[in-house]
Symmetry: C2
Subunit: 340 residues, 2 copies
Amino acid sequence: MAQKPATLKDVAAYANVSRATAARALNSYGYVGDETARKVHEAAEKLGYRGNRLAQALRNGQLPIIGCILGDIQNPFFARIAHDIEVLARKYRYNLIIGSSEEDLEQEVSLLASLQSLSIRGFIVAPTSDENTFHLERLIEENVPLVLIDRVVKGIECDSVVVDNEGGARKAIEYLIAMGHRRIGLLQDDTRIFTSRERLSGYQSALMAGGITPDDAMISVSQSTVEHAIDATIRLFSQKTPPTALFTVDSLMTQGALLAFRAMGISIPHDVSLVGFDDFNLATFTDPQITVVAQPVSEIGLAAARLLFEKLSGQSSPPQQIRFETKLLIRGSVSRRPEG
Amino acid sequence: MAQKPATLKDVAAYANVSRATAARALNSYGYVGDETARKVHEAAEKLGYRGNRLAQALRNGQLPIIGCILGDIQNPFFARIAHDIEVLARKYRYNLIIGSSEEDLEQEVSLLASLQSLSIRGFIVAPTSDENTFHLERLIEENVPLVLIDRVVKGIECDSVVVDNEGGARKAIEYLIAMGHRRIGLLQDDTRIFTSRERLSGYQSALMAGGITPDDAMISVSQSTVEHAIDATIRLFSQKTPPTALFTVDSLMTQGALLAFRAMGISIPHDVSLVGFDDFNLATFTDPQITVVAQPVSEIGLAAARLLFEKLSGQSSPPQQIRFETKLLIRGSVSRRPEG
DNA sequence: AGACCATGTGAGATCGATCTCACATGCATT
DNA sequence: AATGCATGTGAGATCGATCTCACATGGTCT
């Protein structure tokens, strides 16, 4: 026989008071006599009473849950972000619902709608694309606290936390050019993704600043998984005149490229040089160690969560845009190439 | 001016019907006239009506949310599991709340209580320890669907999905012994964690079966993070007579050990042999490639989620225990050691 | 004595949804 | 005509909590 959880009504009956009195005693508002309060607390403990948050939220407005819609938590970048947000949420006695958009706009829209119908109090979203921003606009209209993370969306005026993707990509390409590379490949994500576009832009502008005309044959598109990146790298380096260097736009793709090179018998940095965007645990343990553009992962999730909780605590401030710098960590995966 | 979401009451007023009729029309139960239903649907669309799930859940019992309490989603093993559970949950139109116990029992208890007060419908839990199982027992008493994952707890009769940890550890140690190693180190997690205990047990029984007396000086305890594992490995290999081989009990610790060895100028497999529990993306790209005990990560989360949804769909079956086998993947991180 | 305030309590309304059942209409059957 | 059934509608109850305000008591001040 399943035991039905005790309700406030049960507690009130056990303590021989009204529900209103029981609620006052348990939540310390209004007036309650000392003796009455003692009896109510005793009853609550005896019955294992645990207030129903749904009922509370229905009366008062919202559940203590924030929603977080990221690309895919299998990506160590997003896993770290989700972890940091959860830690701060726990501190504020909130629970965190994490959804993975898997970089699919429809899924992002669907997830957001689903979470809103749950009366979720606020959202941290890594928007998939800005083809359609109605769902985000609607959040703004309804005054729902929203923080965009990793990517921003034109026309959505709200708090955001991003990294200088363009500058980071530019640093990588400038470094490859300085090392003599002219045919520089790019392993990139879907250009509907904001970060992907910025990294492409940094790639292209650095090429042009170095007097190199960008060439589509140097670019291979991949989803952000190791498996897809292996395929995309193989495609890129199977062509007649392959790149002499490769820039990969996230750590899973970097790892995929490494595996593809190994499968193709391509040696780094002897045959091909490699620079990856974002650091990862074993970048300094591979042979050779991988040169990366590092972003301050440990700062990003915390910054976004802080912004959200400021808003949730009722503070009404203008939208803040936080932008973190990247840093080029030169290791051993780039070799100098003669001018030819 | 924030727009308050439309309620059923608004829709009913707009369509000039009662709330009961509006509800019937929108949810297709009971009787509603065709014309009436048309007017109601029109009103709902016009007002952007989105039913309040809290109110529904309060009336009907529970929210479409399942809770998942894992060790730490930064661990790729748990990230993969969480991802797979979320994918299946989405298919069943559920949302997933992920909490990280961080292998702290109090935090696990607190998270569970918090989620229960939200009327969460079911739980997948990787229990931290079995020192105190009251919180899990209470779930069973209240007939809340529960699936234990990765670890089980004595005395808790419910669905579970685990891996043969003991057998996996035994395979690793047997292999190291067969390669001539007698001083075999163990980098392990807190023994309150079920998997940790099983892996220790496999380690010890394989040693004894090989005629080797287990020695506490060969064991170093670490939390399951790269940073902690670096420290623990350095401690273990700084002693007078260090091990000739090391078994690490999860992929983050394996990576930490690699980094520690590199810092200490220890060469694998020349100076020390290494076997890790659980495979990871770059295990085949490090120099040397790492020998690992692989577990079927892609199966575990799905199996647990399937069990949970069976229970949630009302099926009343006896508790099922699913146990997956591990597989030793021999690569290049173990060298043969002479009998001395 | 009357007015005002503080303290304490409980009935009933509220939150937004679903559900129940009384009532109404129309049709078919006896 | 009476009865039974199907269809359709709406008032009010329910879910479990919080909130409001009427009522009661006691004390203080004018």
